[in-house]
Each structure stands twice: as structure tokens, then as C-alpha cells.
Amino acid sequence: MLQVITADGDFDPKLVPDLSDEDLLKIHRFMLTVRRLNEKGMSLQRQGRLGFFMESTGQEACQIGAAYALSAQDWALPSYRDPGMCLVRGVPLATLLDQLMANSADESKGRSLPTHWSFRKWNVVSLSSPIGSKLLHAVGIAYAAKYKRDKLVCFTSMGEGATSQGEFHAAMNFAGVYRAPVVFFCENNQYAISLPARRQTASESFAIKAEAYGFEGVQVDGNDVLAVYKAVRSAVDKARSGGGPTLIEAVTYRMGGHSSSDDPSVYRNDEEVEMWKRRDPIARFTAYLTRKGILTESAVQKQSEEIDAYISRTVKERETVKPPAPSTLFTDVYSEMPWNLQEEAEEFMAEEGRE
């Protein structure tokens, strides 16, 4: 398992990827932002200000490290547990919140469940709920880019549970057969809702599954942001230069529940959670940057407060945005409305007007 920084911030200089201090600090700040956003998201949901939320606390190194290895022209299909990837890609916090709040400014017109991203401008592809189905889209996008001689890579992430779906199998196999420039990033956070990873499959690891498709599988410490960056960066470089796909398994932990509807205490014990707390990806990266002398604990404290304030401000601002207009019920089903939809829309609007 690839590791650059150990749990207490120690590291092997030969393994450290080539990133400027500025980049390192940006990465750290993104990680903090995701952590605070998760906390805010859960509290908004508890207050009834968000209909639904899926947190990703504990997986900040995965999200930020991976997305940081991509270029702007690359395409990404992040999972619901990857708000940080959207932020790194450049999606403004306000735009992300519009999605969560399903308001009229939301690019998806408030049609999708919160955390089901779709940000065309930032090449973040529309996500659905069925687990695994998007992996094939990543292969198709990568193939099409290659066909058009565009030098880009398609990146997609998934939970370890997704590897059990038939669509994972087809995506991996097609990627191998067509040598598509695609990077599969599996965040093994130890659980698929309540099912522990060791009961999801009997294979030695998730990374090893790449053998079945004739390309490389890599296992990396998913709580080590530099290791994640390094692994994804090298997979991206390989894909960009015609070397085909890679599967990366990032070993991490889902600190919270599966979603705002879930109570994880039913199926797992506190000791386990405590053990993983000690491997916290942000604490570890902070320790590293502190050792390097480019960050202090008090600076982190200050940043957290700034971020909190910024998130709260933006939430308040986005809460003033109107909900989607009723007429949007009927658009975008087709490029043009067929007569049956037109009829339904007209009847509906007439009744709306009446009531």
C-alpha cells in the first residue's frame, strides 16, 4: 500500500510528490473546507433546511488528493461522497449549495437528490443514484476523447460497494479492451451502508480486481493526501500518454453514517471508529505541513473559522434563491416536448393558475 506520510506526519522524502508549498497549502485548505461543509450539511439537514445529505468526513484526502491530480480539461464523474472534487475542479461553493438546496439556480433545476452533482462547465458529469452505472459513462467519455484526439483523461470515483455491480465489470473490461484513458478511483471506506468491505467480496483487495481486466491496480493509503495525489497523478499521466486505464483503491474510512437517514451505531462499534479517528487525514496532513514549517496549528484554527463564516454566509445567501418554477416539471424530458407532455403541461399550468 502506497504511503507517503505516516500517521504521525513522518515521511520519506524520496516519495514526496513534486508540489509547491502553495499547492500544499491549497490542498490543506480544500480539505478543511470539505470537513466544515460536511458538518454544516449535516446540521442543515437536521434543522430541516436540507432535504437530504451524504457526508464524507474522513475521506477528505481521497477527494482532494485525487481531484488535484487532474487538469481542467479532464472530465470527472465523482461520487456523491466527493463534494471536494467538485470544489477542486472550480465549482464555486454557491453553485454546490444550489445543487444541495435544489433551488432555481441549480444547474439540474432542482431535479436531483442532494449530492447528485452535475456541473457541465467544470466537466463534472451528471450523477444518478444506481450504484455503478456511471463507470461505463467514464469509459465512453474517455473513448470519445481519444477518438477525437483530445488529450484528456476521464476520472471516475466510486465506493468499494460499487465494485460488485455488473456495470463495474463491464466498465473495467471495456476500458481494458479499448485501452481507454480512464482512471477508476475506488474509495474503500470499509462500508457499503451497513455491509463491511470484507463481506463485499472475498478478494484479497479491491485493487487486485484490475488483474481480471489486464491493467494495473494500485492500493494506496486513502488517508494520506500526498499518496493519493501521487497515485492518481501517475495514473492520469499514464492514461494521457496512451498507457490505458488504472484502478486505484484508496483505503479510508467513512467516519459518519451512510447518509442523513442512517444510524451506523446499529451495525458497527465505537472502538473501530476511534481507531480510524487516530488516522484522521487532516490531522496527519497538518502534522506534515507543521513539520515542514509552512503551517501552524493556530493558522489552521484561524482558517477553520474563516471557512465556517464563509460557508454560513453563502448558505444564507443561497437560501434566498427561489425554488424551481413548476413549469420545469415538463422540460428536458426530450429536446422538444411531445404532444402528450405538452397537453399535461398545459393542463397542469391551467390548474396551477386556478388554485
Partner: protein
Amino acid sequence: MPMLNLVQSVNETLRTEMRRNADVVLLGEDIGKDGGVFRATAGLLNEFGPERVMDTPIAEDGIIGTAIGMALYGLEPVVEIQFLDFIYPGFNQIVSELAKIRYRSGGGYPAHVVIRAPYGGGIKGALYHSQSTEAYFTHTPGLYVVTPSTPADTMGLLRTAIRGSDPVMFLEPKRVYRTSKEEVPADEDFTIPFGKARVVYEGTGVTLVSWGAMVHTCKAAAEMAAKENISVELIDMRTLMPFDLETVLGSVRKTGRVVIAHEATKVSGFGGEIAAQIAERAIDSLRAPIVRLGGFDTPFPYALENRYLPSPERVLRSIRKAASY
């Protein structure tokens, strides 16, 4: 007589049937320790152990296909699909295998699998936690399709499904999983036969046909109609395959007016089948056009869910339309 809500009724039926018959086994995602995301299987792992209450990897084809194999060997698997919306990776197993294996093997290899799946809108679940696609299954010979609307019906019909010998799609109206409790027969052999509708309200003015969670919307609409002096006969189909055409036709012959209301997308919904049957067999009794009301012909939205879901007011408008023609 115990008081149970609908999801408790599922739980209780599974428990009693598992106690009765060691060949009844469950499989699905998160049905073990977690007790299912809706708690339909809560407590069953503890009582029956992991060999009979199997948490599975995330693969609906795997779940259904494995269940078919078990059934071929003689077990009686009851599958939980977490949401009906997630059944499609297993659709091939249903359409190509489960529905056809008895027929294609000349009766040699029947596969008695019961597939339970929560379905329908009303929980703010957006496109993929809300759909009502019962019509796909009614168009697949070899399957029975059951759509209960109350705790007692759920118990009686689920027991029939489990004790039967044919594949059943058992679609549970999750919107009303917990909305109310009712008394449920204590008799552990209480069953309700497939193909017998339930007349919820008798009436003389308009026949209103529905099933699943929509029955409750229709009840509200019928009550509103009563205030306008329209007497509605509300029929809960209970099972869509086989469907109780006799009860529907009998009512239509009496009222001459009919509204069919379902949550599913209107075009090619099962309402069309019922309308077509009436138009074929009781047209001379009709005193008004057959009115169908369905979900819009769009995917299921998130923010506007309440605008999308057929409301009692929309049903009422349809009733008025039929009544006033």
C-alpha cells in the same frame, strides 16, 4: 388482534413464515444487522441467523439470480430489493429467467421466488427512490404482481405469495409504511387470495380504480367528492396480475362512469390495460369517457415532488369530469 403499521406487518409476516418453514430464506442488501433501510427485516437476523438472513453484496442480478438457483433446489427465497428503482441490474434475471423458467422447462423447473420492493413517491427521494413501474412486470407473463395498500392486506397477500409456488413481485407502498396502524388478524394462517379486489367504499356515481399508496389519495378524493354529492365506489385492485376484472366490470355496469388513478407515468401504465378491458367488455354500460389519471410522463422530480404526485384534488377533478359528462 395486534395493531401494526404496514412495514411492521411485512416484518411480522416474514417472521411467522420463517418460523413455520425452514426453507424460507431472505436475501438482500443491508437486511441483516441493519434490518433493512426501512427496517422491514429488523430482528430477523438475530432470530434466524446469517444462513437464512443473508446480507448480500451490491448486485441486484446477483441477489435475484442466486435466489432463483435456491428456489430451483427447493428453498423458498424472499428477496428484498432496497428500492424498486434499483431492480434494473436484476431485470434480466426477472424477465428472462424467473418469469420463463417454469414454462421453458415444461414445468420441470419452477422457481418460486418472492421479490419484495418498496416503490412509489412521497419520501423526497427524487428520480431513483420514487418510481412506480409495476406495468413492466404486468407485461411479463409468468410473474404475479401484488400491490397492497394496508397493513392487513399486506400480511394476507405476502403470506399467499410465500406459500404459493409462482414468482411474485411484491411491491410495497413505502409512502404509507408508517402512516397508520390497523388491526391485523392474529391467525397465522390468514391469507388473501390473489386476484380479488377490495371495495373500499361502495358507491353509485363513479367507479374509482386504484392500487398501492394511491388508494389513500383516492380515499381522500372520494371523501371530498361525497361532500359534492358524488358517490364514489373505490376499488383497491390489490393484485395487478392476476387482476380482478369482474369486480371492476361489475362496478362499471352499475355506475357507468370510471376513473382509473395511478402514480405511475400515464403512458403505457397499467391503467391503460384496465381502460382497454372496460372498453372491450362493458362499453355499452359507459355513460362517460373513461378517465385515466397518472403520474406525468416525465421522470420523478425532487424539489417539485409534491406538484408531481397526483393529489386528492387532481383525483377529485377527474371524478368530477367523469361524473359531470
